[in-house]
C-alpha cells in the first residue's frame, strides 16, 4: 500500500521530572496512514492530544514508542529513530509544518522568511523571492509589508507569512495546525484554495481545523484523537 | 649622533689623523688573553656563530660576558669580533658610518691593546669590520666579515611582548603580525614609515632585525659576498647571514620596499648615491648634507683632487 505518512503503534507520554517525575500519557498505540493527495483532519476535544500528534509527526516531539514512517525521496524514513541530520533533510525536502504562530526571526523581512525554505532546497534566490512575492500577494499581505520584518505585524498578517512559508516549497507532506484561525473570510478562501492545489499535486496533508466549514471543504476524512483516560 | 658633530671637520681630507691606512700590528698587552676573552668563552661564542651560520637569520642564545664597557656600547659585537679575530686580521670599526667617533675609536683602541691587531679606516683593507648603524658604501668581498652591534635582536619585540610567543612565531614562521605592523604604517602614514631597523626575511625563512641600520642599507645585505654576523650583548643573542644569502625587506606588492636617502648630493664629495647625514653648520639653521660613510667620502674626495 502506498502511503506518504504513516504512524504505527505510536505512543507518547511526558515525564515531568520537576514535578516529582509524574508521567502524563497522551498518545497510545496510535495508527494513522495518510495517502498522497489525501487530507486528514484531526478531530477530538481540546487537550486530547491533536497538537501533540502533529508535533510528533513533525519530529518536534520525540516519539515514545512505535514508528513514524514518511516517504522521503522514494524511501521510507522512520522519524522516530532518524538522527537529527536526517530529520532536517526530511524537513527541508519533504515535510512542511505550519504552526499556529509565526516564530519571528529578528530583522529578517517577510519575503526572506518565505523564500528561505525554497533557497534551502536549492532554488535560485531570484526565483525564490519571486515565488515568495506571489504567495504573499495571493494571501493579500500588502506589498509595503513584504520587505519589513514581521515582528510588528498583526496576528493575521504574521499567520499569512507563516502560511506562505509553509506552502511555498510544495512539500509532499504538509502539517497544518489551525491554519485559518486568525484569518478573515477572504483569506480563508485563499488557504482553502492552496490546500486544494496541494492535494491536487499529490501532497498528503494532516490538519487541525477548528473552523468546521474549512474542515468540511478540505478534509477527505476525519481522524479521531480521543483523550486516553476516556479511551481506557 | 656623535658622528654628526664630528663630521664637518676640514674638507681637506685630513681626517683620521695618523690613521689613514692600515696601522701595523701592535704588540698586544700580555696581561690579557689574545682578544680579551678566554679561549673557552671564544669557543662557546664560535659555536653559537656556527649555529647561526647554519640557520641563517635564527637567533642563537649565548653566554654573553661582562665586558669592560657598558651595554649599548657594542658589547655583543665586541664579543663576536673577539671570537673571530686572528693575529693577521685587519680591523675597521665604524659608528654611524664614521671611523672617528668615540665609540669606534675606543673599540679600535681596545682591540689594538688586547689583540695587537692591525686597524684601518679603509673599508677595502679591512678583514673584519665591526659596525654600529651602517653598512659601508663600498661593496664588501668574500674575504671580509661584517660584525653588527645589535641592541634588540627580536624583530617582533614591539608587536608581541611575550618572549615565549615570539619564539613560537619564529619556529612556525608565523609572521602575519609583522605585516600587520607594515599595514598599519601605510594606513596611518600613506607609506611604510619604518626608516631604520627595517625587518627582513632571511633565506625565505626567518624574520630578522638588521640592527638599526637605515633601510637604505637593507639592499646591501642581500646576497652580500661577505659573512654578516650579529651580536646582541645585553640580550645574549647571536645570529648570522652567510655569504650570498637572500635577504628581502618585507613589503607589499603595491607598496614595494624603497630605500630612502636625502635627495641631495654630498657637500664634500658630491655623491648622489651614498647615504647622507644632515649636519647643522651654524645656529641660524644652516645645514649641509655629507656622506655618513667617512672612508667612502674621503676616498672620493682624494680621487677628485687627484683628477684635478
Amino acid at each position: 500500500m502506498s502511503f506518504a505518512l504513516r504512524a504505527e503503534n505510536l505512543g507518547k507520554s511526558f515525564t515531568l521530572h520537576l514535578q516529582g517525575g509524574v508521567t502524563l500519557p497522551v498518545l497510545q498505540a496510535l495508527e494513522l496512514t495518510v495517502a498522497p493527495g489525501e487530507c486528514v483532519a484531526l478531530s477530538g476535544p481540546s487537550g486530547a492530544g491533536k497538537s501533540t500528534l502533529m508535533r510528533c509527526l513533525y519530529g518536534n516531539y520525540g516519539a515514545g514508542s512505535g514508528r513514524i514512517l514518511i516517504r522521503h525521496h522514494d524511501a521510507s524514513v522512520d522519524l522516530a529513530t532518524a538522527d537529527a541530520r536526517l530529520v532536517r533533510e526530511v524537513r527541508r525536502d519533504t515535510l512542511g509544518y505550519v504552526s499556529q504562530f509565526l516564530r519571528v526571526i529578528p530583522r529578517v523581512p517577510a519575503i526572506e522568511i518565505v523564500a528561505e525554505p525554497l533557497m534551502a532546497r536549492g532554488v535560485a534566490r531570484d526565483a525564490a523571492l519571486a515565488r515568495a512575492e506571489a504567495l504573499l500577494t495571493r494571501l493579500n499581505l500588502p506589498a509595503r509589508l513584504h520587505h519589513l520584518p514581521p515582528a510588528t505585524f498583526s496576528g493575521g498578517e504574521q499567520q499569512r507569512v507563516n502560511l506562505a512559508r509553509g506552502f511555498a516549497p510544495g512539500y509532499p507532506v504538509l502539517l497544518l495546525d489551525e491554519p485559518t484561525a486568525s484569518l478573515d473570510a477572504a483569506n480563508r478562501e485563499v488557504v482553502i484554495g492552496l490546500i486544494a492545489e496541494a492535494k491536487a499535486r499529490g501532497a498528503a496533508i494532516v490538519g487541525i481545523f477548528h473552523d468546521a466549514e474549512v474542515r468540511d471543504r478540505v478534509a477527505d476524512r476525519l481522524f479521531d484523537v480521543a483523550p486516553l483516560h476516556e479511551a481506557a | 649622533m656623535t658622528s654628526a658633530a664630528a663630521k664637518p671637520s676640514p674638507p681637506s681630507g685630513g681626517r683620521g689623523l695618523g690613521e689613514g691606512g692600515a696601522q701595523g700590528a701592535y704588540a698586544h698587552d700580555t696581561g690579557y688573553n689574545f682578544a680579551y676573552l678566554d679561549e673557552s668563552t671564544k669557543r662557546m661564542i664560535r659555536r653559537a656563530i656556527l649555529k647561526g651560520v647554519a640557520i641563517p637569520g635564527h637567533q642563537v642564545p649565548f653566554g654573553s660576558r661582562e665586558m669592560p664597557l657598558p651595554y649599548g656600547w657594542g658589547t655583543g659585537g665586541i664579543q663576536v669580533t673577539a671570537s673571530i679575530l686572528g693575529p693577521s686580521d685587519v680591523l675597521k670599526v665604524i659608528d654611524q658610518g664614521a671611523d672617528d667617533t668615540t665609540n669606534a675609536v675606543s673599540i679600535r683602541a681596545f682591540f689594538r691593546r688586547v689583540a695587537g691587531v692591525a686597524t684601518t679606516e679603509r673599508t677595502a683593507e679591512a678583514t673584519v669590520i665591526q659596525t654600529r648603524h651602517r653598512i659601508p658604501e663600498r661593496q664588501l668581498t668574500e674575504g671580509q666579515i661584517l660584525v653588527y652591534q645589535v641592541p634588540m635582536p627580536e624583530p617582533l619585540f614591539r608587536l608581541e611582548a611575550r618572549v615565549a610567543e615570539t619564539k613560537r612565531m619564529h619556529a612556525l614562521a608565523d609572521y602575519g603580525l609583522m605585516h600587520v605592523k607594515l599595514y598599519e604604517d601605510i594606513a596611518r602614514h600613506g607609506h611604510i614609515a619604518t626608516s631604520y631597523n627595517y625587518p627582513v626575511m632571511v633565506d625565505g625563512r626567518y624574520l630578522m632585525s638588521p640592527s638599526p641600520i637605515p633601510a637604505f642599507d637593507n639592499p646591501k645585505m642581500d646576497r652580500m659576498p661577505a659573512l654578516q654576523l650579529f651580536g646582541a650583548g645585553r640580550e645574549k643573542r647571536i645570529y648570522a647571514v652567510p655569504p650570498y644569502t637572500a635577504v628581502r625587506s618585507l613589503d607589499f606588492e603595491d607598496h614595494p620596499f624603497r630605500p630612502i636617502r636625502a635627495p641631495h648630493a654630498c657637500a664634500l664629495c658630491g655623491s648622489r648615491e651614498s647615504y647622507l647625514d644632515e649636519v647643522i653648520t651654524d645656529d641660524r639653521g644652516g645645514k649641509i648634507f655629507v656622506c655618513s660613510d667617512t672612508d667612502y667620502c674621503t676616498e672620493r674626495q682624494a680621487t677628485k683632487a687627484a683628477a684635478e
Binding site: L18, Y61, G62 | G176, A187
Partner: protein, 251 residues
C-alpha cells in the same frame, strides 16, 4: 559525506572533578551545533579540547581526517588561521586593541600570504560592511568601538579567510540584550550564507534556538541529552534539560 569534526570518548579530569566524562561529538559540514549547560558543566573545556587548546586525558578528535590531538603546534596553528576560526566571549581576547579595524581584519589574510595592501584593505572594508560597521571606520582603533561593534569586528576578522569550522565561546555573553539580538541575527545570516560549520558554546537557550541545528546539553562533564534543537528544547527528556528550559521560560 563524513563529519567535519569528530570526537570520541573525551575524558578530562581536574583533580577529582570530571570536566569531560566520555564525551562523543560529530559536527557535519554546514551544521551549527550548540553546547548548552550552566557554568562549570564542562562546555568551555570541551571547546578547548576540540580546538586543540587543551589536551584530554583520553579520547580522540579528528578534523577532516586529521588527528587534532596528535598534531604538532605548527599544523594546529595553520588550521587555526585557515580552516578554523575562534570567536571569543571577550572581544579583547580576539582582537588586537592597538591595531586598526582594517589591520585586525587583514591579519588573517596576511598570515596566509596576502601581500597586496590595496586588496587587503578592500577585503577589510567589505567585511566591515558585512558586519554592519561603517567602512569609514577602517582605520579606527577597536577601543573606540562599542562592545557590540567590537564583537562584530571580531567576527569579521575571523570569517575573512572563509574558515570551514568556527568555534564560538559565548559570543553574545558580555552584551546588552538589545545588542545581542542584532549580533545573533548577523551570525545567523553569515553562517547560512557561508555554509559554515559552527560549534557554539552558550548558556543562552534563546541564542541556541535561533542559531543551532542541533543541541548538546552538558552537565558535570557529560552530554546528558542531545538532538535536534527544537526537539530538545520543546520536548526535553532529561531532568536537567527540563530545568534549563523551564528556567528560561520563567525568566
Amino acid at each position: 559525506m563524513s563529519p567535519l569534526l569528530s570526537a570520541r570518548g573525551l575524558e578530562l579530569r581536574f583533580g577529582r572533578i570530571a570536566a569531560l566524562d566520555g564525551v562523543d561529538l560529530d559536527i557535519w559540514p554546514g551544521e551549527v551545533v550548540a553546547i548548552v549547560g550552566e557554568s562549570g558543566s564542562g562546555k568551555t573545556t570541551l571547546l578547548r579540547v576540540l580546538s586543540g587548546l587543551a589536551a584530554p586525558d583520553a579520547g580522540s578528535v579528528i578534523f577532516d581526517g586529521q588527528d587534532v590531538l596528535g598534531m604538532n603546534e605548527a599544523a594546529r596553528r595553520h588550521l587555526m588561521r585557515t580552516q578554523w576560526g575562534f570567536v571569543h566571549q571577550n572581544p579583547r581576547d580576539g582582537l588586537r586593541m592597538g591595531v586598526s579595524a582594517g589591520g585586525n581584519i587583514g591579519e588573517r589574510l596576511m598570515a596566509t600570504g596576502a601581500r597586496h595592501y590595496g586588496n587587503i584593505r578592500a577585503a577589510a572594508a567589505d567585511w566591515l560592511r558585512r558586519v554592519e560597521i561603517d567602512p569609514e571606520r577602517l582605520d579606527a582603533l577597536p577601543r573606540t568601538f562599542s562592545g557590540g561593534m567590537q564583537q562584530r569586528l571580531q567576527i569579521a576578522r575571523t570569517l575573512v579567510t572563509h574558515p570551514r569550522l568556527v568555534f564560538m565561546d559565548e559570543p553574545t555573553g558580555g552584551l546588552d540584550v538589545s545588542v545581542q539580538a542584532r549580533l545573533l541575527d548577523l551570525i545567523r545570516a553569515l553562517v547560512a550564507e557561508l555554509g559554515l560549520s559552527v560549534l557554539l558554546v552558550t548558556h543562552d537557550i534563546a541564542a541556541a534556538r535561533l542559531l543551532a541545528h542541533r543541541i548538546l546539553v552538558m552537565r558535570h562533564g557529560q552530554v546528558v541529552e542531545q538532538g535536534l534543537t527544537d526537539r530538545v528544547l520543546d520536548d526535553p527528556q532529561h531532568p536537567y534539560t527540563q530545568l534549563l528550559v523551564t528556567s528560561v521560560l520563567a525568566a
